[in-house]
Symmetry: C2
Subunit: 194 residues, 2 copies
DNA sequence: AAAAAAAATTAATGTACCTTAAGAGTATTA
DNA sequence: TAATACTCTTAAGGTACATTAATTTTTTTT
């Protein structure tokens, strides 16, 4: 399978591209392979790339000075991921991105993305849609974090992201929903969840 | 002051528009005045408009079946606001939007926004930027909610949004940072905050 | 200006979730 | 295959925050 098939079908949901446009777009992409536990982005370093997952699983997490991890997001095949804060503001990143398992990804640099926007305005539409959907996801998460107790946040995570729930550890899910692994364990025990 | 001055300067930060484009864009806008406590959007109803605040203050909040309020966002002059989930998915809205004080806003319907995107692609860029910044805001909020205790979330809110903090009640701030008004009160007492 | 309603505060009690610690299970490395 | 490390679980004790309720202060309505 060609390394660009998945990303082109991802974009194809929203845009129709000519052969020339495809060639221009793919010329900006770089293939990157990472092994389990490898860092794709280190907190505090610049984040001038956005990544698309061909396969595997990534996890983005913020680390406090006290060493507390908060999982910002997971990404599996067909997902886009970056430290959107650092990427947007050309600021030191506020999260680590690490490989939960061996993964293959395509990277696009910020300057290349800007030239893509300039030369092919339809990519503005694509990223508008991408950003809008990401905004929706994050706002739903905020609402759920504010309004639901931990057991319901856990159930919601598993039902919303069953593929991710299969691939990542309970500890990582706990740090996404905002509880300790120990407490998630008691939640699951009460639910009769094996 | 013309009702379109503020929105044009808001857009002008990112786009240059011709007189014709301005005329086309403003022809899609409707001026709306709401008085304090008036509902701009009722939860469960369709949300097919996006709003821009000329002046005043709005608050978006989600209401659970148990009657618990969670403030999703505030908006003051020069801010855009809508139920982005319902707007994007043409679904019943998941929040109320209400006037904290008398406010003047401009509304743009979803069909009009789509025709704007079709006819003037530079508006795709503008909304891409808008959505991207909103995504950044929400992601930062998620990280802070996960990693910081309530007193720090309160301090951060006040330092980040001093104008909003002046206009809204403590109860509303409490429901934004995810604590009860009573607990926010004890936080403030401990800080010697009058 | 009086009356009513809502916001803010304080305090007592309660609980969801955290911390610490230890042991069992599972995966990774030598 | 053994050794090491990490995840998951269980349980005791602790704390941040919620709930309830009463009082004061501020805002809104009449």
């Amino acid at each position: 399978m060609m390394p660009y098939d998945l990303i082109l079908s991802n974009i194809g949901k929203y845009l129709t591209l000519t052969e020339t446009e495809i060639a221009f777009f793919t010329s900006k992409l770089r293939l990157k392979e990472v092994v389990k536990k490898e860092l794709v982005l280190r907190q505090n370093e610049r984040c001038d790339h956005i990544y698309f997952l061909n396969n595997g699983t990534l996890r983005a997490f913020h680390l406090t000075t006290q060493g507390k991890e908060s999982t910002v997001m997971f990404a599996i095949a067909d997902w886009w991921i970056t430290d959107i804060y650092a990427f947007t503001n050309n600021a030191p990143s506020i999260m680590n991105i690490t490989a939960v398992e061996d993964s293959q990804l395509l990277s696009l640099s910020y300057p290349d993305l800007e030239s893509l926007w300039d030369k092919l305005p339809k990519f503005e539409k694509f990223f508008r849609i991408l950003m809008q959907k990401a905004y929706v996801r994050e706002q739903l998460r905020s609402i759920q974090n504010l309004s639901l107790p931990a057991p319901e946040r856990y159930d919601l995570f598993v039902s919303k992201y069953p593929e991710i729930a299969k691939k990542v550890t309970k500890k990582q899910i706990a740090s996404y929903i905002g509880v300790t692994p120990e407490f998630l364990s008691t939640i699951r025990a009460k639910q009769g969840d094996t």
